[in-house]
Symmetry: C2
Subunit: 256 residues, 2 copies
C-alpha cells in the first residue's frame, strides 16, 4: 500500500514534532509538508483573507523538507491542497503537537484546525498531539500515528469527521493501551495577569490552569490521564438537534 | 424584566452593526460593550496567549460606549467576563456582523467565536449576522435580535449551546418569517490568485466563491435565501458518536 499524505502543524515547520512525524510517515507513504513558518498556537480556525500569503521551500538534513507558509495552519492546508499539490492527497496529518489538545481546548487548537480544514476539503484527516509542554521524545507518538494512518487509509472516515489523537508523554512501556473516546468537558480556567508597562499603563496577560471537570474514563481528558492513547472522532455538524426540536415550540414567528 | 448583556463583535468596535445592536439593546437591558479595536474577520476561535492585551475606553456621540481590546473576539469576551465585569452577564450578544455566517463558514467566523466563548464561560449567547457585505441598514436586524434576546433570557439555553442568527438583508416587509434551522453543508470553494510583487516573487491571495450544496429549506443556507430569518442552535459537543461506536470494532489496541 502506498498513499500520499499532506502533513502540517501549528508549532511551525521547524518544530521537532513535525520532523518526527515526517520521518516516520516517509517509511510508508509519499509525504508533502506544507506548514506555518512559525508557531501558531491557539489560532483556532483562522484563515488569512486580508493579506497575501507567501511560501518558502525549507531544507532539512541537506534535502527538501517542505513548504513554509506565512499564515495559519488552515491557510497552509488550503494552499497545499488548492494550489501546491496537483492531486488531492489520500490523507492529511497535523502535528505532532507539543502539548495536549483535549476537551474544550480543541476549539482553540491550531493543530486540530489544520485537520478540520483537511476534512472540509474532503480528505481523511488526523490531528496528533503529545501531552506535554516539556522537552519530549516524539518517536513513539510518531510510530503510533503512522500505524493509525495506515488503518485510516484502509478503513476510511465518514465525510466531515476527523480523528483527534492524544498520546501520553510517558515511556512506551507505560502506555496503557488505546481508547476511542468522547471529547471531554474540561476547560481552561482563565485569569488575567494585570501588569504595568514602563509608562505606567495597564496591560493584561492571559493565564490560568486547566479545570478538570471530567470523570468519565471514556473522555479524552481522563483517557490520557490514565496513560491511554486517546482517539476521538470529531465532526463539524454543530447543530444541537435536541434544542432545535425544543425551539420549534418557541413560536419565534411571533418575533418577526 | 431587566438584565445585563455583554456585547462584542468581530468587525471592530467602530462598525455600524455593533452600534445598531447596542442602541436597540439599551432600550431593554443594561449593556456593556467589549469588542476588538479593529476588524477581526475569519479569525476563527483564536485567543492571544503570546502577547499582552490592552483596553481603551471608546466614546460615541459624547458618551462612554465601551472598551476596545487589541485582540480577537474571543479575547474581548474573556477579558470582559473574567476581568472587566464584576458579575457574569445574563446574556452575551455578538454582532451584528456585516455578512452572513452560515453553513461551514461558521467555523471561520469571529462573530460566532465571540458567542462560543460566552457559551464556554457559561453565558447564554447569541451571534447575529446580516446577510450582505454591501452598505446596509442594521435597524431591523437589531430589533429582531433584541426581541430574541428577551426570549432567550426568559427561556434559557442548555449549557454549551448558542444561537446563530442570520437576518436576510431585505426590507422588513420582505422578511418571510423566522425558521429554526440546521447548519448547512455549503462551503467556500477556495482558489488562490497568484500574483508577483515588484521584485518578481510570487504571492497568493485567497479568493473564491460560496458553493451552495444545500437544498433543504431547514438549513441556515437555504432559509436566508428564502428571506427567512435563520436561528440555528449550535453546540460544541464535537464527538461523532456514530463513528465512535464503529471504531470500537477497529481493534485499535493492536496498534499500541
Amino acid at each position: 500500500m502506498s498513499f500520499h499524505v499532506l502533513i502540517s502543524n501549528d508549532d511551525g515547520i521547524d518544530a521537532p514534532g513535525i520532523l518526527a512525524l515526517v520521518l516516520e510517515m516517509k517509511k510508508i507513504a509519499i509525504v508533502t509538508v506544507v506548514a506555518p513558518d512559525r508557531q501558531q498556537s491557539a489560532v483556532g480556525h483562522a484563515i488569512t483573507m486580508n493579506y497575501p500569503l507567501r511560501t518558502v521551500p525549507v531544507r532539512k538534513n541537506g534535502e527538501f523538507f517542505g513548504y513554509a507558509v506565512d499564515g495559519t495552519p488552515a491557510d497552509a492546508v488550503k494552499l497545499g491542497v488548492r494550489f501546491l499539490l496537483k492531486e488531492k492527497p489520500d490523507l492529511l496529518m497535523s502535528g505532532i503537537n507539543h502539548g495536549s489538545n483535549t476537551a474544550i481546548n480543541i476549539l482553540y487548537s491550531g493543530t486540530v484546525s489544520a485537520a478540520t480544514e483537511g476534512t472540509i476539503l474532503g480528505i481523511p484527516s488526523i490531528a496528533v498531539s503529545l501531552t506535554t509542554h516539556d522537552q519530549a521524545d516524539f518517536s513513539y507518538a510518531a510510530k503510533f500515528a503512522a500505524r493509525l494512518a495506515g488503518r485510516v487509509v484502509a478503513e476510511g472516515l465518514p465525510q466531515g469527521t476527523l480523528l483527534n489523537v492524544n498520546v501520553p508523554a510517558v515511556p512506551e512501556e507505560k502506555i496503557s493501551g488505546v481508547r476511542v473516546t468522547r471529547q471531554g468537558n474540561s476547560s481552561w480556567e482563565d485569569t488575567f495577569d494585570v501588569r504595568r508597562d514602563p509608562a505606567g499603563r495597564e496591560y493584561f496577560w492571559l493565564t490560568g490552569s486547566m479545570a478538570i471537570r471530567d470523570t468519565d474514563p471514556e473522555t479524552d481528558q481522563i483517557a490520557v490521564r490514565e496513560n491511554f492513547i486517546s482517539v476521538t472522532p470529531i465532526h463539524y455538524e454543530l447543530t444541537d438537534l435536541t434544542q432545535l426540536e425544543r425551539m420549534k415550540h418557541w413560536s419565534l414567528g411571533d418575533l418577526k
